[in-house]
Symmetry: D2
């Protein structure tokens, strides 16, 4: 092979290695996303550094990352050691330099992403291969080590089972703070929180568990005002920011909350970064607190969610990520307009929930008058049959449900007494504009069908 050809090839190789060097130095998401080839090459070069891939290695320990199936080995790019050590989930492994670099780097890239999303004051974070609920439990168990006698969690009501479970699994008791109805919105009752803390005694309270991302008509909690109380009473604020990174309304709240008091915020990787379900990012404004949470995770863990995020952030690049955030915002506007038009045609309205930047709700008041509860909920299943996934119909029922020992009325509506039934829909990251059109079109058909039928009968 003539030298000149090889030289140009080697230049290309050098360019590739420079890209990697830059990543290792800057520990930031690259401006332009990487192509798949570059990502795979980096992963393979890291894998070579793990002992299970050393040629001539002989393993006489109890865990040597041997992998039986070739399919399994390939799908993990031949990584086998997971992440973390028995001491700590963010610790590096002597046997697995490559895996350790990947995991450490992913945590840095995640930090960069959180900043890009608007929480520029964030100090540290790490990826955990557990969903948001279990991560909240882990955070509470960590807080518990500093507040061993505290047993209550002040909890502005958010009707998600996993949220209540995360409290009860941690061995704690949820103290429900009902939301206030303001216009069409359900908003945090800050005074009630303050009163409850006074009533129970701040020292008996593990934390206030607030929520950002949620289904309309509930809106993200008032983190800054809650934080002010927390600061005054010396009670931690833990935030369930499940899918809030994608929305500047939520990230702004988290950022502002940090100015009063906000200890930890947790978000899912799948909902914010378009990876399969399975990982979360635990983040905060105090490095040592984050280290404490990391030390509470006993032992190694799956590296799979970290790898997914690693690949994805490299692939997106800063530009790609920002573009996705902008598209989401635009889709939200577009869907709101279209939904308002559709609502008008059936004598309903788009609820006015401007504090919620992701989810929106369409009233089903007329249907409430025409039919019983089961017929209202039918709207949802009819949409599902027409391949619309993700809408939720919340019907006024007055039903009481018991969850984790708590009796809750109208569970699913975040309120004991919301005035009407409604249907929710969300504009999430990664949605395409044509999906909005499809949705509106199918919704129109279903509503026409339901409303006409009812009128005739």
């Amino acid at each position: 092979i003539p030298c000149s050809y090889v030289k140009q090839g080697q230049n290309a190789k050098l360019a590739h290695q420079n890209k990697i060097r830059l990543l290792l130095e800057k520990k930031k998401i690259p401006d332009d996303g990487w192509d798949d080839m570059s990502i795979e090459l980096l992963l393979q070069e890291l894998a070579v550094m793990d002992s299970n891939n050393f040629s001539g290695n002989c393993g006489v320990g109890e865990r040597e990352a041997r992998v039986f199936s070739n399919l399994v080995s390939q799908r993990h790019y031949r990584f086998g050691h997971g992440i973390g050590r028995s001491g700590e989930i963010t610790a590096v492994q002597p046997k697995a330099a490559g895996s350790s670099i990947m995991a450490t780097l992913t945590n840095k890239l995640a930090l960069h992403a959180i900043k890009l999303a608007g929480i520029t004051l964030v100090k540290k974070c790490f990826v955990v291969p557990m969903a948001t609920g279990m991560c909240l439990t882990l955070c509470m168990l960590t807080l518990k080590q500093k507040r061993p006698t505290a047993r209550f969690v002040i909890w502005p009501r958010i009707d998600q089972k996993s949220c209540l479970k995360s409290i009860s699994t941690a061995g704690l008791e949820a103290v429900v703070i009902e939301n206030k109805i303001e216009g069409d919105e359900l908003r945090t009752d800050v005074e009630a929180i303050e009163d409850k803390i006074a009533e129970l005694g701040a020292e008996n309270i593990l934390c206030v568990l607030t929520t950002t991302s949620c289904f309309a008509p509930r809106t993200p909690d008032r983190l800054e005002e809650v934080g002010a109380i927390c600061k005054e009473k010396d009670v931690p604020q833990l935030v369930n920011n499940a899918y809030g990174l994608q929305c500047s309304k939520c990230t702004h709240l988290v950022q502002q909350g940090s100015k009063t008091r906000l200890d930890l915020f947790v978000q899912s990787t799948d909902k914010n970064f378009l990876v399969p379900v399975g990982g979360s990012i635990i983040a905060g404004f105090d490095e040592s607190l984050i280290d404490n949470v990391s030390k509470c995770y006993p032992g190694r863990a799956s590296g799979s969610p970290s790898m997914d995020l690693f690949i994805t952030l490299l692939s997106m690049g800063v530009k790609g990520y920002k573009e996705l955030l902008q598209q989401r915002k635009a889709n939200y506007q577009y869907m709101a307009e279209k939904l308002a038009e559709t609502a008008a045609m059936f004598g309903e309205k788009l609820l006015d929930t401007k504090h919620n930047g992701i989810s929106m709700a369409l009233s089903l008041s007329k249907l409430d008058m025409m039919s019983d509860v089961s017929q209202v909920t039918e709207v949802g299943s009819k949409l599902f049959t027409r391949l619309v996934s993700g809408t939720r119909v919340v019907a006024k029922s007055g039903k009481v449900t018991e969850i984790c020992g708590l009796k809750m009325k109208n569970f699913g509506s975040h309120s004991n007494s919301y005035p009407s039934s409604y249907l929710t829909a969300a504009a999430s990251i990664g949605m395409r504009k044509d999906e909005v059109d499809l949705f509106i079109n199918r919704l129109d058909k279903v509503l026409t069908n339901v409303y006409t039928e009812k009128n005739q009968s």
Copy 2:
């Protein structure tokens, strides 16, 4: 294409579909392992059933399993929904029939595997995408719901950080039971357990946390005798069976323990089934208790460890799995013989730890006499440099370490006062016989080097 050719092709397709039907009906590991093609085809056929892969689907929820990177999508065979629901990790998902079938089936196959390993009385189990330590925490938190005031965990000493962490993260206090030295072995002090329960009061004790798989010269705990006390005092027994499934000595103990009292036992998927780090199986003899643990995991979780196990068990088949178990046993015998020979050449001995069927230890008594602690530990790092991974050198040091608030002497040796230094090695599942030879050969070189050097200096 002539009909006869197509017909033979369709017969092949039918044969394949029958294989799948059989799997779905029997929910057992097939006798003969499946080839990779069949496994991939099954995974793809399941993936088609998940809503994120429906063509024409329009998703307006907050979580629609969209995946940004094609690499990520492919490595998960286009599954995106993870496993479980907000209520429960073993719940099925409306949006993801394929993922749900995969996860449910994996739990059944895991149950079959546990039976094959010797615990035939096991009733139910499920795969969790968390390492053993975090699973033990989850089990303790579950037990805590029934025993809310209990705060102690009786813990026959086993020097693994993650084990202590699992207790402290659960907000509990470990009560150390020192091991008894019997011959060369470190064994459970059953009487001390009984005394300690009496001293603290059974109602204050959450559980006894026993261990099977461990480094020699410690041996698996006496589960049956401990269980007898637990039964009498009504205290749960929780077993850390981390890599014990691979060894009939351990599985026999678990099986026998169930005849007195043994509530839950936890094992890692990577150490027992040759998959990447990241999953565990929580199992037990009482279905409702297992359901309770499952319900305590708040929310969805990564399906990646389940998928790895699913692929691996289908690929092994019953025959392949049994063969691996037999090979391991044979390798253990072979390594013990070879190590005894090597020991003899240097005036050392293979410690007599016949109750431990996985790990073995070679005394370093002469080295204790010749040199100081740091030189003893050097043996380990010299082996690592020669690409022997997994040995551990435990030197007599008398050093006191603080872990999770506990002060422990000679941490790593499972004992305050083991008489000599030693080096451990294990015969784990998946090891090849030639690795034993390599190990012995390299060990011989290192010992020659160290012992000669010491003699001369």
Copy 3:
């Protein structure tokens, strides 16, 4: 798993199977491109039908499609039998129903693609795993069986080595017909062809080998007028349509040629359909002639180029393919405008070659005056160094080259005496518009550098 979930999943599966059924019935490129998952699933379902994938098969032949390497097996989706039989490359294989269906279907999809590209009258075609040159040889060898004594190929000059090679490898003699200069263009000298046939005797002429796609300032041959002579003299016309499918100017010529006489036309799969190098499509207007060519290929052949085309056409869909064709046309216009502007800035011009719809040329007349030949060609290598690939600088040199026994003047310029040096560039299928901008930008820099330097020296 609840029935309703499974049912929706099975509906999805059914939808997928319907898609496949439709493909098998219609044997046409689907309107909307398939997603990768559907394509992979289809390939795997076909692979199951090949005997090398039958479970329980025992092979005692000399060729059983055993594949040693798992990597190799996977990259061919576990197909191993190739295509064709010893008799004929389009024959089906008893041992490989799946491979046979894939290959047969690909030929049908290719036929559909050719029609979409504008040659609606085409009757039959097949994919061959050989590049265009070798396919032309195969076509000539086939024609030779009907015209055993013919030994000349009338060849309107096109300066591609492989073209001459294809003639000489077939054991034939190329008779060069120089092109006529018309304006800036080099065009077919139809009269010269007629004269030459008369001179040599039609019975001694195997065929006229014309060309469509070519570098400007040469233009596609006048197929219809050449065909008229061929018809009159009963001489076959064979067309090298290498990358002509992507351009309606070329496909129109082939279509029109068929109305006088045009026997076979050959095109590459990589240049027209964006697959890796390696395949061609041999097509024509007479089914039995195509069958004859197929029967001349002795033995089996690689199925890899067929598989690439199969995947690609399914992935593109009719819509995707048409879109690519339109984009290419738009890029051509855009590049022509931009190049004309650039030319003007340096006192050069874009040659007026409107009959060539893919390639265009920028005169380098001033450079001819300023410098010697080696400096002219430097423009090309300077562009290559700046990562512009694919331009060609043709310098007036007067040099005579011998190829396959023919002495040719100014080889590379398609002419003994083109008046100026020039640089060519092409707007090919798959090019992105921003590549045009990049090219113009880099060209501007190189020309500035070269022209300024020359002026100063």
Copy 4:
């Protein structure tokens, strides 16, 4: 990440790079096969060197190796340029240093493999992406350039269609030399060849086309004795060594043939090296002749068969390849014994064809007496139905078939008058011993069924 961990990782990387460096320097198959990870890493490192993978490249040529489908791109490890240039199939490409290195290296590894197989005197070879038949045509067309007036090919009869096609497609005429029956074997009639050359005139003969690997009872041709005549008369000898590399009997003949006269020998990659159908190796003892053949292939070609062979030879290693050759030999012996036993049970015999080391035949003489031709051939289809692929039943029929203009009696039996019907089976490379057992078992069932039935009726 601590330095010491990274250092060990980098050592591993260095070890990997040394392995690659060694390969590039020695250009030989490594002694020990490479693991899949190393192979993939090498392929990706090479792919980076191809211009289609340069980041920032802008392509304005007519062929830029753009690939539409991600699936296609991945399965070729992102190589797109194929191999060769318009001039020559072994030429390197300026745009594709990586592809060129891969292709060049593969040719060297193939040469090494041929030597390992026993033809130590071989001088040069190259891989062509065409099956054996088409390669024979290419060889003949190359020879034709030196012997333009020759038009006959002397052809010791071997009843494979593709063989005759390869001659007629090259525009030549096959002159059949009937085989001699010696004992049970059909062997080359050397005298008849000599006589025929004298009769037709050596100058009119393009070559003698001999065959090594073939179905018993035919045996490999007497290459050395034929070569002696060729040498004397100055006629080339071309050898169809289709699947002969796997058998030392065949490679010995080729080696010996080179000592008299043997110009070129052609073998398939799939049959000798367990890759998918699609490639051949053209080899010889004179470098310049091999170069001539390479120059006759007009244009680029698919790199897919080269890549398959590249991966496979790296994966096998010298040891793995030798082991496969030995296993094959052992299976041949084993099958012969078992088949002789089975034959005896039915009053038949294993034909004594000791000169054929791959294929063997079992007489069906009794069946000839009992039934008509169609019933004899039924034995084959009954075996196929029972999933035995690859056997061939040759029935005495006296039928005359016309192929490529030649009328041949008993086509398929290599003889006008072989005394009995028979069934063939082969012990090919890659066969497992348990397949022999399966075959014998199923054959026994089929013969029992047929012979019993006939006796009863």
